[in-house]
Symmetry: C2
DNA sequence: CTGAAAGCGCTTACAG
DNA sequence: CTGAAAGCGCTTACAG
């Protein structure tokens, strides 16, 4: 029922070859006049290209597969928005697939689904990939690129924030404002390289001031709101508080800290300063608004697509910066 | 380079026809033994189906195109998560395309991109579609279904909350707690049928109590945080406040109201009660937490995919309910 | 600048 | 239960 190039060929008197050349804009292979006629008839007939046929013969497409780790984060949107923006500029279509951390089978399934079509490339958002699946990816000859995650294995191309620097910046910011007993809450320290790097950054900054970090200052978690609540409960179990400031592993953690502090009658920033990591729009929505190390997620997504398509195998960082809001007090 | 069914045919000694039948599981067309051999070799060779070829010949696929209105909302995620969940149960892959409200050209572009492949169906999230594009959709013979939006034109299949009821419920809830001067803030009343319906629901509930609604109680907007701020500024320009309670057109509006009230020294809920519409996770994150008419976005997404695939052309509603939190005071 | 023809990898009546 | 063959809609060397 659908209109094909054969119909256009028939209607114009040209061969399908010529019609195809015009429609794919193979410069130099047709006259202006031919092109004009073909386009006119194509429009009249309501022609739509059959992508399946095109992908079959060219073995390539403009489809980008984006595999997203569906573990609760609130910044994946921004990254996807950035990817989407770049994709629309470049004429790419996006397929989205979801997977879960540490679930090798679901990960593999998502990758295979992506590879079943001739995708132009695969972007993996915050996907902490299993080693076997790295092999699958590498053997596919399809370009891939990790976004918002970094790996010890430097052969994996990725773009993320410099998480060591993120941890360092947050800590330094608080040190500069007179804080010495600084907590760190809600980071995943078991499974997450990101968490490790931020912790290292924190330790570096503390070491520069020759501060001995007490174990009770650090409460690991999983970057969730819940982790923030738990950490605050733990801190508040001592009176007075063991810390004067705390760095939250994510905005959600920061909000958990805030809500629990509120519940316990601890005032922020008067009794406890909070610096959040991420800096999503949530920081402006809560009270007090959260001073944060803000990551540039949108840009991360925007840039990643270009890198992927240029077969750039470098590992690279997007910048992050302190955005001052109302959750930090200066200690005199 | 990729393994094809021809390779499997060669390796097993069967024809490509038989291999194809096994791989597509055409029951009754092959013996158990044949199936076993084929599957074994397919696995050994690392065979991946070429979807482009399959889509070309069958003229169908398991791809669902989801077209999302990228206007700032914070609930599209939940809907997509629901769709995604159902899609993974049903074996569908999702393509995501973005468009904008009232931009007929971008809308059309997204629809055409979807129709360039033999998609199983098209889901349109909060897309207020232009009439010409409705024609395009209808003439495509591809099933489509609108999600989280309803239309005056009852011929458009859709699933959403019952927005008249949403407006009514929110108002009734406040009336039951003794409020009479009730504001309505941040709804889009010019372009949005949803906004109109909620306003009608509000008016119905007020009329039941024979309350004459004052114009100054209603501040239209565009469902954004900014709209909430503006509305609160307008209310606070009178002293005392003209209202004792306000219904926010969305969670973002509610948060805008909250933040601006805080800034102006108006306490919630003591001086002003707030009921939010949407009930996303944000309601728990802010202080005071927001009592809301909570929509079931996840379920909306989950259900929509089934409806789409069953060619259900009914217009239907998902339920919404009041979730009580801390932003409403009872008036004695 | 244009056309005839082969072929991409698969599915499916048709025949046995 | 299986195979030979046609065909899905397009692109692209090859030849002119």
């Amino acid at each position: 029922m659908d209109v094909t190039i054969k119909d256009i060929a028939l209607a114009t008197g040209f061969s399908t070859a010529t019609v195809s050349r015009v429609l794919t804009n193979k410069e130099g292979y047709f006259s202006k006049n031919t092109a004009h006629k073909v386009h006119k008839v194509a429009k009249e007939l309501g022609y739509k290209k059959n992508m399946a046929a095109m992908e079959l013969v060219t073995r390539r497409s403009d489809v980008i597969a984006v595999i997203i780790n569906s573990t609760k984060t609130n910044f994946a949107d921004s990254i996807v928005a950035g990817i989407q923006k770049r994709a629309s500029e470049l004429g790419n279509t996006i397929i989205i697939l979801y997977t879960r951390d540490r679930d090798e089978v679901v990960q593999r399934q998502a990758i295979i689904t992506a590879l079943e079509r001739p995708v132009a490339g695969i972007l993996l958002l915050s996907v902490d990939i299993a080693p076997q699946n790295v092999e699958l990816l590498k053997s596919s000859n399809t370009p891939f690129y990790f976004v918002s995650i970094a790996f010890r294995d430097a052969s994996l191309p990725c773009i993320s924030s410099d998480d060591h620097s993120v941890g360092y910046m947050a800590t330094k910011y608080l040190l500069d404002r007179g804080h010495r007993r600084i907590g760190l809450a809600g980071l995943d320290l078991n499974n997450s390289y990101t968490g490790q790097l931020r912790l290292d950054g924190y330790r570096s900054a503390m070491a520069e001031k020759e501060i001995v970090v007490s174990d009770e200052w650090i409460h690991a978690g999983d970057f969730s709101h819940e982790s923030g609540i738990e950490a605050m409960q733990a801190y508040a179990s001592q009176s007075p508080l063991p810390i004067t400031a705390v760095i939250a592993g994510s905005d959600l953690v920061a909000i958990g800290l805030l809500n629990q502090a509120q519940k316990l009658g601890i005032t922020v920033p008067e009794q406890l300063s909070v610096v959040s990591i991420d800096g999503t729009v949530l920081c402006d929505y809560v009270h007090p608004s959260l001073t944060s190390v803000t990551q540039d997620f949108y840009h991360m997504g925007y840039v990643s697509l270009g890198r992927l398509l240029e077969h750039d195998h470098e590992m690279s960082f997007t910048s992050s910066r302190i955005v001052e809001r109302d959750s930090v007090a200066e200690l005199r």
